[in-house]
């Protein structure tokens, strides 16, 4: 049973460290692997897990800019007849407007131009813009009732990632690195990959803080994997320095550091020696991981035409699977370009071209390799979009503004109820009418699947015990298998 396997591994990590925690090396190793040094000194290497985890790995497919729920997941057949009618005041109900549409005189209803159909055995309604996602519909649990407080990209993405709108708190991945440590001795616990849209869309910027460690020690921050020669910053030796030369140079560094250690007897020197050895191992492990040349042709066919190009969402999806195979615990992809204030129909098509096929391929790939049972996959953005058109509405074109009151995401894999829809919105997809899910609830659920009680994973900062979900958050029982 994969679930108990994950727990066994967590336990054996713990035992390995506690049994050798008296030596300098263990403390140093704990530090390098992202564990809290103080925690490891106390015999318990990491603050979590608290109970049997369902998931060992998370792949978070973050769609930055906020994809329109109305054109992808939240089918509202009734809107056809309300084309260009004003959104009733009773529905808008005092919702704050962004500075981009607050000057608009009218809020005309813009029905989606995309057709919806029921797909899979589960019969989930899905937009024709997602033909490949349709193939994996029976694996998905679509949540239609998410909501947030933030109405602009920066605070909303910061809230989604860190549980707080204002910068300064740790991201989900950093919390996991702090809570669970690292599974793989040669790779970081938290990896981030970013792709820009292939279309002409104006892409919202991202910030390092979105995968930052906030007030947690910086070793917990997400490590960016970049396309090209150095997937990890400064991974490659400089030109002219071969691996053999590097190894010999490192042997010299170690020999000299040992002389120093004998003289000064400072534990930090041993930690430095270990740090350089781990860096050397990463120099071998990461290129092996990033090298897609041995992937069979069929893999590229499944992930689609963009998967040949380094740095695309599709190529990053293949890498995500390879990272999951190697025990990296939290893999976060960001795909930018979902901010369709205008020309939404063509913009969404282009975004779906980038993401739809590789997403479906990733789920199927994980499933075929037996990894989906222990991998939690999430897909979604920072908020939803308005039912009314921003700018001119025609029968074939419209734009949508930011909308925090409801939006859709899906989860799949470890511990998730497959082929299920959770929550409901009103006929305009404007307000949640059943089973509202706040960002804190989402994060509580993610932590739960990893065996973490979200109220117990805390870190003291400025005299207060902080947690990802602040003082909120309820695990969404209905989405759990």
């Amino acid at each position: 049973m994969p679930n108990s396997l994950a727990f066994q591994q967590a336990l054996s990590r713990r035992l390995f460290l506690s049994s050798s925690s008296t030596s300098i090396g263990a403390a140093a190793l704990a530090c390098l692997l992202g564990r809290d040094a103080r925690a490891s000194a106390g015999g318990s290497p990491t603050p979590a897990p608290h109970f049997h985890p369902r998931a060992k790995t998370i792949i978070w497919l973050t769609q930055a800019g906020a994809p329109s729920q109305l054109d992808l997941f939240d089918y509202k057949p009734g809107l056809k007849d309300r084309f260009d009618q004003d959104l009733p005041e009773s529905i808008r109900n005092g919702q704050r407007l962004t500075g981009m549409t607050s000057g608009q005189k009218r809020f005309p209803v813009a029905p989606s131009t995309f057709k919806f159909r029921q797909v899979g055995e589960s019969g989930i309604w899905l937009s024709e813009a997602l033909p490949h996602t349709a193939r994996i519909a029976d694996r998905l649990c679509v949540i239609r009732s998410l909501y947030t407080e933030a109405i602009n990209h920066d605070p909303a993405m910061t809230l989604l990632q860190t549980g707080h709108q204002i910068a300064g708190r740790p991201s989900l991945g950093a919390w996991l690195s702090y809570g669970l440590g690292s599974e793989n001795n040669n790779l970081p616990a938290y990896v981030v990959m970013i792709s820009r849209p292939s279309g002409p869309t104006n892409a919202q910027p991202l910030h390092e803080r979105m995968w930052g460690s906030g007030f947690l020690p910086p070793r917990h921050q997400g490590v960016r994997f970049n396309p090209g020669r150095d997937p990890v910053l400064f991974l490659s030796n400089p030109p002219g320095i071969s691996t053999e030369r590097r190894r010999k140079m490192l042997d010299d560094v170690v020999a000299l550091n040992r002389i120093k250690l004998a003289d000064y007897q400072d534990a930090e020197i041993q930690a430095r020696i270990d740090q350089y050895e781990l860096a050397f191992r990463m120099q071998a492990a990461v290129p092996e991981l990033a090298d897609l040349s041995h992937e069979p042709k069929s893999v590229f066919e499944n992930y689609g035409p963009e998967s040949h190009k380094l740095g695309t969402f599709a190529a990053n999806c293949i890498l995500a699977r390879r990272l999951a195979e190697r025990g990296v615990q939290f893999i976060q992809l960001y795909h930018r370009g979902w901010d369709q204030h205008d020309n939404l129909p063509s913009g969404i098509k282009s975004q779906c071209y980038d993401t739809d096929q590789p997403t479906a391929a990733l789920i199927q790939d994980l499933e075929q390799r037996g990894l989906l049972d222990e991998t939690l996959v999430l897909w979604g953005g920072e908020f939803g979009r308005t039912v009314y058109s921003q700018g001119t509405l025609t029968s074939t074109n419209y734009g949508r503004d930011h909308h925090p009151r409801c939006f859709s995401m899906w989860m799949a894999g470890a511990g998730i109820k497959p082929g299920h829809v959770h929550g409901e919105t009103d006929e305009y997809s404007y307000n949640v009418t059943r089973d509202p899910v706040h960002i804190h609830d989402l994060n509580a659920t993610v932590l739960h699947l990893l065996g973490i009680n979200h109220t117990r994973l805390t870190y003291r900062h400025q005299g207060r015990d902080y947690r990802l979900t602040d003082v909120h958050g309820e695990v969404i029982k209905d989405v759990l298998a």
Partner: protein, 824 residues
């Protein structure tokens, strides 16, 4: 420098004598409580109550359970809602508190079984003992004025050089520990240089220092009192020399930039650039001029409100414009105005008062005696700036975020004046012409437009800086319920927190009044918090470890009497920062060797007792600066606009806003080799090497950087072109400045980097490395050529390439040594 002249007379006020008269007659040493010693509330009891009880039984009314509060003695001694008496002094058996903490009934036990806040058996016994002894309370230590006690008498009377040492030694003697011997002179000089300037000593400085010490030793052979010895004078003169170096101000600025959340971009969303280097340069200059810390404080918080404020004093107020600024199109201005004011409150409270005010934005503090009303009282001081809550994204970055100051050069000023004169004349001529169809009229109209355009263009060439200003009429400030901008509560007026001594009645209720209150001698916090950060900069950890939190949840000081003595000394000397650092670095405590041993390591792994010298990895900035310095690449230029050194390709472009045209353009020439504090700091994607070595994002105030150890750091120093190029230039110095043998050359490289000669064993490893690499590179000319191409600065062509590449690899080894990365 006259511009930092302090106008204030430095007479000690009458109450000052208070500290002197309370000097203890009998020195009493406090250690961990044992059965023989009475329990002390602040030391033993408050930490327990604060972390396990106050969240539900503390100050915060809204979350108080059962009507019980334990933070105030009167309440704890009277019946709670349950009618039970929580504490009966002297009678633990009739104290409900004691009954409940010892209870094993899950429904009764305290803290509750599901709270995760368990008490240890020892803690329960302590609480019981405290109640038995009468349950006396004490005010929190940091809110009581610092008490100056006489430096304690120690047994090893020969060891102390100044009072710092008496305080440290008395503790060591009590613990049965001995101080370490002094560090070797070269090691000490490197430590001193890195601490006071952030740069390693130059080779000629090391030899001069050693020469002077050798000469002094001959003179001292017949001297008696150590403080009269020539060697002491030599050391003191080097301390003074370093404090007088312009690089001192740069080093001091680095920590202050973290505190001030200084950056070169706005931080939110599109994260456009901002221009603030004039403020950063003000900070460097202020430290170099040794501006007294009280004046330094007043000018940054309220320089604009000083009578006849100078340009520099106005620039200084940029401190509180350094916060992030939102330019995102859809935001509501009021919401972010609230964020900026809150940021100023929280930053001010952390930097000067060492208090965490973040909690009180939404509710009364759960642990410390501060209320939500206190928060908005402070907020009100910062709420009167003529600013928009939203930056003007459509405007040039020199016009997008008023209030801003223009800082024109005299040449530009003259040019604009001359254009304006011409404009006036043309307008005059134009006014004289009635007929709009007159060709001359048309010509002049066009000329006016052209001149206006020209003036505008030149105006945009003028550097600017963000500053504070005061609205003529104060804005109304209301408490924001739950901290939300649109949930308005009671109106409040500008005021300082009620738990601290109040503002003097004749002080204006504005930022100037606030600034003066912060450095008022009655304020128990500012001096303590400041000397603690200076201590932290030398020892890697403050006397109070939680430098940002002197509240009940922070750690109490390791040496409380020393902290208080330093705080009072700081004030006594007129807030003289250089004098305080001089005092610290001339102590015997500071000059100890950093060598450890297994028993000491086990006894005091973090060196909080100070039985050895400080030893820890260099800060991000100083690591890079050191490599540039020892290679000879470092530019010594001070100040000016931020620069763009090497940056990994693609990293910036992946996340920034806008089209593919928004790219990171690497600087040229000197810009690649400036000190790291001048590196362009874009908040959404700061220089990755800085982040890797624990620099903060500079989004909010940071007063204590963590020090972590990750493999990414090793990759950075091994492979970043910055270090590879520095290694090549260090190799060039080995060839040019040392003899012809491998031994001489590697010795020189080692000496340049570490200020000491290698031991025979160390030299043998380096010489063997040289010979191995030499043989290897002789057969691989391609590798030689490739390695020598890394970095923008070309190699000296006179040097044989194989020799240079070989020595460059030796240099890379030296630059990656633990000792190189470490201050010891």
């Amino acid at each position: 420098m006259s511009r930092f002249r302090c106008e204030r007379a430095r007479a000690a006020p009458a109450w000052w004598t208070f500290w002197w008269v309370v000097a203890c007659t009998a020195w009493h040493i406090h250690g961990a409580a044992d059965a023989a010693e009475p329990v002390r509330f602040n030391r033993d009891i408050r930490p327990i109550l604060s972390s396990r009880c106050f969240a539900c039984h503390g100050r915060d009314e809204n979350h108080r359970k059962s009507g019980l509060r334990l933070d105030v003695r009167d309440n704890a001694l009277n019946a709670a809602e349950s009618k039970a008496i929580p504490i009966t002094p002297g009678k633990p058996e009739s104290s409900e508190l004691i009954r409940r903490i010892f209870s094993t009934d899950r429904d009764e036990m305290m803290p509750p079984a599901d709270s995760g806040k368990n008490l240890t058996a020892a803690e329960k016994e302590l609480l019981k003992q405290w109640v038995s002894e009468g349950a006396e309370y004490e005010p929190h230590w940091s809110l009581v004025p610092p008490m100056r006690v006489q430096p304690p008498i120690v047994k090893q009377t020969q060891w102390p050089r100044n009072p710092v040492d008496n305080f440290v030694l008395v503790r060591l003697e009590r613990e049965g520990l001995r101080p370490s011997p002094a560090a070797e002179p070269a090691t000490l000089l490197r430590r001193l240089c890195l601490d006071l300037t952030g740069l390693p000593p130059a080779a000629h400085d090391v030899s001069a220092f050693q020469r002077e010490l050798a000469a002094a030793d001959i003179a001292d052979a017949k001297a008696g009192d150590r403080n009269q010895r020539a060697a002491e004078r030599v050391y003191a003169s080097w301390v003074d020399k370093l404090l007088a170096s312009p690089h001192y101000g740069e080093r001091m600025a680095v920590d202050w930039l973290d505190a001030a959340r200084f950056a070169d971009s706005n931080g939110y969303q599109v994260d456009r650039d901002r221009e603030m280097y004039a403020w950063r340069d003000w900070v460097i200059a202020a430290f170099n001029a040794n501006q007294p810390f009280d004046q330094f404080t007043i000018e940054q918080l309220a320089g604009d409100l000083l009578p006849n404020a100078t340009l520099e004093q106005k620039i200084a107020t940029g401190f509180h414009r350094n916060h992030m600024l939102n330019e995102e199109g859809g935001i509501i201005a009021e919401e972010f105005l609230a964020e900026y004011c809150s940021d100023r409150v929280e930053t001010t409270a952390a930097v000067w008062l060492g208090q965490t005010f973040t909690c009180t934005r939404c509710h009364d503090h759960k642990f410390d005696p501060f209320t939500q009303r206190d928060y908005y009282g402070l907020y009100s001081f910062f709420h009167n700036v003529p600013e928009g809550g939203i930056g003007n994204y459509g405007a040039n970055i020199r016009r997008n975020a008023p209030p801003m100051l223009k800082l024109p050069s005299p040449e530009i000023e003259a040019k604009i004046a001359s254009l304006n004169r011409e404009l006036d004349e043309v307008k005059k001529s134009l006014a004289a012409l009635q007929d709009a169809k007159n060709p001359e009229h048309v010509r002049l109209t066009e000329r006016v437009a052209a001149l206006n355009k020209q003036i505008d263009e030149i105006d945009l060439q003028i550097p600017t800086t963000l500053v504070m200003q005061e609205l003529p009429a104060a804005r109304v400030t209301r408490i924001l319920m739950r901290g939300e901008y649109n949930k308005l509560g009671d109106e409040v007026t500008a005021n300082t927190p009620a738990a601290l001594p109040g503002m003097s009645p004749d002080s204006p209720k504005n930022r100037l009044g606030l600034a003066r209150w912060i450095v008022d001698l009655r304020n128990p916090l500012t001096a303590r918090v400041t000397v603690n950060r200076l201590w932290q900069s030398l020892y890697g950890v403050g006397l109070v470890r939680t430098a940002e939190d002197f509240g009940t949840q922070g750690e109490p000081p390791s040496h409380p009497e020393l902290l208080d003595w330093l705080a009072t000394e700081f004030v006594r000397t007129g807030w003289d920062v250089k004098a305080m650092l001089r005092l610290m670095v001339t102590s015997s405590t500071y000059r100890q060797s950093a060598r450890s041993n297994p028993s000491l390591l086990q006894r005091d792994p973090e060196n909080r007792l100070l039985a050895r010298g400080p030893r820890f990895r260099l800060q991000a900035e100083f690591l890079r600066d050191q490599a540039l310095a020892v290679s000879g690449l470092l530019s010594s230029k001070l100040g000016g606009p931020s620069v763009r050194p090497y940056h990994p390709p693609g990293l910036y472009e992946q996340v920034v806003a806008g089209s593919s045209a928004n790219t990171y353009v690497v600087g040229t020439g000197d810009e690649l080799y400036r000190r790291s504090l001048y590196t362009y700091w874009k908040r959404s994607v700061p220089n990755p090497a800085m982040l890797t070595f624990d620099a903060p994002f500079r989004e909010t105030c940071v007063l204590r950087r963590p020090r972590t150890n990750t493999p990414l750091q090793a990759l950075n120093v091994m492979n970043d072109p910055t270090y590879v190029e520095a290694a090549r230039f260090l190799a060039q110095r080995m060839v040019r400045e040392a003899g012809n043998t491998a031994a001489e050359r590697v010795r020189h490289g080692f000496q340049l980097t570490l200020a000491r000669s290698p031991s025979a064993a160390e030299q043998a490893i380096l010489v063997a490395a040289f010979e191995r690499a030499r043989k290897d590179f002789e057969n691989d000319p391609t590798a030689v050529a490739e390695l020598l191409k890394v970095g923008e600065s070309p190699s000296d062509t006179v040097i044989e390439p194989v020799e240079l590449a070989t020595l460059a690899t030796v240099a890379m080894t030296i630059l990656n040594l633990d000792e190189t990365l470490t201050k010891e």
